[in-house]
């Protein structure tokens, strides 16, 4: 892996995270199903197609971006293996922290609302049990529920990214070294195959 490939990989990862968050935030179903009568099956199929689209973006930009980064940056000076590990860990971590920091400011309101929920949850539960009525804080429309869950997951993602996404980073390192080894084997077997 070259320096430019590491940079390209980091940029692809950050852009991929941004694309996933933006796509999920603009899920058209949240407005579509709130205003139109559509069967549960079509709703489920629509949601499945959307999830597949997001997974496709996630796979090519975040999880399986080695091939793409190699194509973007080309082949140039190779790292000493130790340097490669250092560069990859550091640049990926900087990129992930950047993504987390960009998500954090917009997640502040939902974090405050979640903290507020701790004070409201007891009276809400007692309302449901004693008077068998759904409290106002739980009476949300389809779009509002979607938005709340989305914002909450986004806040969790922001915090995870700010912590440096340790599990994701470990997985990336393992995956990158495996791909690297496979590429080297191919290069040795057929020197012109990767160009």
């Amino acid at each position: 892996m070259t320096k430019m490939q590491v940079v390209a990989k980091t940029i692809l990862t950050v852009l991929g995270i941004h694309a996933i968050v933006a796509l999920c935030g603009n899920y058209p179903g949240q407005y579509l199903f709130a205003t139109q009568e559509i069967s549960v099956l079509s709703e489920a199929l629509f949601f499945l197609a959307f999830i597949l689209g997001v997974a496709f973006v996630g796979y090519f930009m975040v999880f399986g971006n080695n091939q793409l980064s190699r194509k973007m940056a080309g082949t140039a000076e190779q790292f000493v293996p130790r340097d490669q590990t250092d560069w990859l860990v550091k640049s990926l971590r900087v990129g992930l922290v950047f993504a987390g920091l960009m998500l954090l400011p917009r997640s502040v309101p939902i974090l405050i609302r979640t903290a507020k929920l701790f004070f409201l949850i007891r009276p809400a539960v007692s309302d449901i049990i004693v008077s068998k009525t759904v409290p106002d804080i739980l009476r949300l429309s389809y779009a509002q529920w979607y938005r709340t869950i989305y914002e909450f997951l986004k806040a969790i993602l922001a915090i995870y990214l700010l912590c440096g996404a340790p599990y994701f980073l470990r997985w990336q390192m393992r995956h990158s070294s495996r791909t690297e080894a496979a590429t080297k084997k191919t290069e040795i077997a057929d020197p012109g195959a990767t160009n």
């Binding site: 130790r82 590990t85 250092d86 550091k90 971590r93 900087v94 920091l101 400011p105 507020k116």
Partner: protein, 188 residues
Amino acid sequence: MNRMHTLAKIMLSGIGIFFAIRLLSTIPTLLWVAITQPSDLSLPLALFWTAFLGLCLAALLYVFLYRREQLAKRIVGAGELAQPDSHILWLPAALRLVCIAAGLYSLNLVIWNTTRILATYLMYRSQIHGHTTFTRRVLSTESLLSWLVMAALGIYLVCGAPHFVRWQVKKTLKQCRQFGAKETTVKS
């Protein structure tokens, strides 16, 4: 001047241009509202806000395009520095740059929220019981708290978030050592 300074200068220019575009995009909206809905926003007020945003834009461009040399030196550190390839040095500088960019984004959101609250106040002011409705709907404890947290976060990040950067550097170097040790074990 080394490669890290150049990188910092490029990133600062990028940040400046990004926020300039965001600021510029609000000016036509203000004028459009003033022309089409004069009851919501009067033309003199829209002109005042346009002038204010123009001043902000000028200050932003001055700092991020003309004074970027000094700013880059402050971020990376003055004097003769080693090349970024000497591993540890580039990491805190890159993290600080990232923090500054995120801080500016946070402050941008704070300014955006403030102008939105002001615009809503102007809208409610002319209504009967408008002041009470405004206080109840817009100035809730929750939104004020969010505003304060975002402003504090923005200021801390713009200052370079020293504690956060130190913690991140420590954790990253630890992780690098772990991966390095693992590789050595696998090879032997």
